[in-house]
Amino acid sequence: MNHAKKIVEVKHLVKYYGKFCAVSDVSFDVYENDVFGFLGPNGAGKSTTLRMLLSLIKPTHGTIALFEKSLSDHRSAILSKVGCIVEKPDFYKYLSAQKNLEVFARISGIGISKTKIAELLEFVGLQGRANDKVSGFSHGMKQRLGIAQTLLHDPDLIILDEPTTGLDPQGIIDVRNLILQLKHEKRKTVILSSHILSEIERIANRMIIINKGKTVVQGNVADLVSSSALIVTFNLTPVDKALEVLQHSNFSACKTLVNNASLTLQTHADAIAQINAMFCSNDIQVSGIEVKRQLEDYFLQQVQSYAN
C-alpha cells in the first residue's frame, strides 16, 4: 500500500478522433516524488494521454484529477503547479534564451529576476548563453532550456514527453542526471515518457505500459522487472553437447538460442546455478555467464503478448 500523497489520478480515460480510438480506458495513479515511466510503442497513445493531462486535448470520456482537484474544473490552479515539455522543446526562435524564459514566467503569473534566470540556466548547463538567440541553439541546448522553462515557477509536478529524443549519448546522460536531480534534490514528482526503455529502468520507480491506447501493465518498476525472465548467456564448449544435456534436463522447455561458442536461454535467477552445475558435471567447460534483465525485454514481451 502506497501512503504517499496522490498527485495524479486518471480514471477510465478515453479519447476518440472521429471513429478512431487513440486512448481506450487508461487509468493510473502517480504519487508524490515518483518518477513515473510512461511506456509504449509509437502510436500507443502516450502523447495523447500526456496532452490530456495538460489540457491540450479534451478527453472524450474519463476523469483527470491532479493534486486532488478535477482538471476540468480547476485548470489554471492545477497548471500553476505543473511544468512540462511536450514532444519537442520549441521556443520563440527570434528571442534570446532569457527573453523566452521571461515570456513564459510572465504567463505563468510569476515575476522572475535575471539572477533567478541565470541560476536556472546554470542548473541546466546553459550558463553564459542567456542573451543568445534560440535560433542558434542545438536540439540538446533547446532540451536543456526546456527543462529550465519547466522549473521557472517551481512546479510540484513535471511532465516530460520523450525528453531525450534526438539527443546525443552525452545529452541523454545529462538529461537523465537532471531528472534524477529533480527527484532527489528538488523533491519533484516526474512523469516521463521515453522510447529509450532502459532509461525508464534506470530513472523511474513506477511505470505504466500502454499499447493501442490500452493499459498493458502498471506497477513498481522493480517488481515488474523481477517478475520477468532473465536472458542468460553461457559461454562454453562444446556447444552441441551442452544443448543435448539441456534438452534432456528439466530445463528443456526454456527458449534457447545457440551460437558458435555460446548458448543463450530464457530462465529464472534460481535456475542459473543448477544449469551451471549440470554443465560442469557433464564435462562442459563454462568460461563465462552473462545475465541480462532489461526492461526492454519485459516491455517487448508484454506488448507482444498483449498484441497476441
Binding site: R51, L54, S55, L56, I57, K58, R75, S76, A77, I78, L79, S80, V82, C84, V86, E87, K88, D90, F91, Y92, K93, Y94, L95, K99, V103, F104, R106, I107, S108, G109, Q149
Partner: protein, 280 residues
Amino acid sequence: MLIKCIYNELLKIAYKPRSYIGIAGIIIINAIILFAMKVDGSFYISLVTGQFEQTLAFEGGILNGNLVAFISIQMLIIHVPLLIAFVTGDLISGESAMGTIRLLLTKPVSRSTILWSKFFASAIYTLAVILCLAFMSLTLGKILFGAGDLIVLKFDGLVVFQEQDINWRFLCGFSLAFLSLITVATLALTLSCYSENSIGPIVATMGIILVFTIIGSMDVPVFDRIRPFLFTTHMAAWRYFFDTPLQTKAILHSIFILTSHCVVLLGIAFYKFNRNDILS
C-alpha cells in the same frame, strides 16, 4: 493577467522582423508620394483642377499638406490591410507552426485570455500602423507643403474645406479607418485559429477581401442585397467625413457593420480556439 499576456504578445510582435515590413512599406510608399508631389505636384493638381478652370478661379496654395495627406491616405488604405494581415494572420498559426502553442496553452492562463491578449495586441499594432500613416502623410505633408484649405474632388464637383475645419475630419477619418483595419485584423486572427501555418490565414484574408471587393464593385442587381453587409463596402467609409453635409447616417451604418463583423468573427475565433485539440 490579461495585461501581462498583452505585454508578451507585443514583445513577440516587436521582436519579429515581419512586423516592421508593414511600417517600412508605409514609410517608403509615403516617401515616394511626398517626393512625387514635391517634384511634380503642380502638374498632378492641374489634371484635377483643369476641368474647372473655365468656371472657377483658384487662389492660394491648393497643393498643401492637407491635400497631400488626403491623396496619400486614399492610395495607402488599399495596401494597409495586407500589411495588417501579414502580422495578425500569424499570431496563432505562427505559434502552431513553431510549436510554441503547446507550451503557451499549458500555462495557468485560460485560452480565452490568450486569445483576448492576441486580439488587443493586434489592435495596438494596427493603431501603430495607422499612427505611422497619419504621421507620414499629415505631419510630414504639412512640414513639406505647408497647411491650407483642402479641396476634395467629388464625382459631382469640388468640395472645399477651410483649414480650421479639417483636423477633426482627419481624426475621425483615421478612427474609422482604424475600425475597418481592426475588422481585417480580426478576420486574419480568426482564420489563424484554423491553420497551422502562417501563409494560409494571410492568403485567405487577402482572398476574402479581394472577392468581397469584386462583389462590391460589380454593378449587378444580384449583389445589391448583400453589398451593404460586406465589410469591404465600408472600408472606405472614412471618406464620409470629407462630405458636406456630413453623412451621419452612413457613418453610423458603417460603424455598425464593421463592429458587427468584429463581434461575429471574434465569436467564431473564441469558439474554435477554446475547443481546439492541440495536436501539433
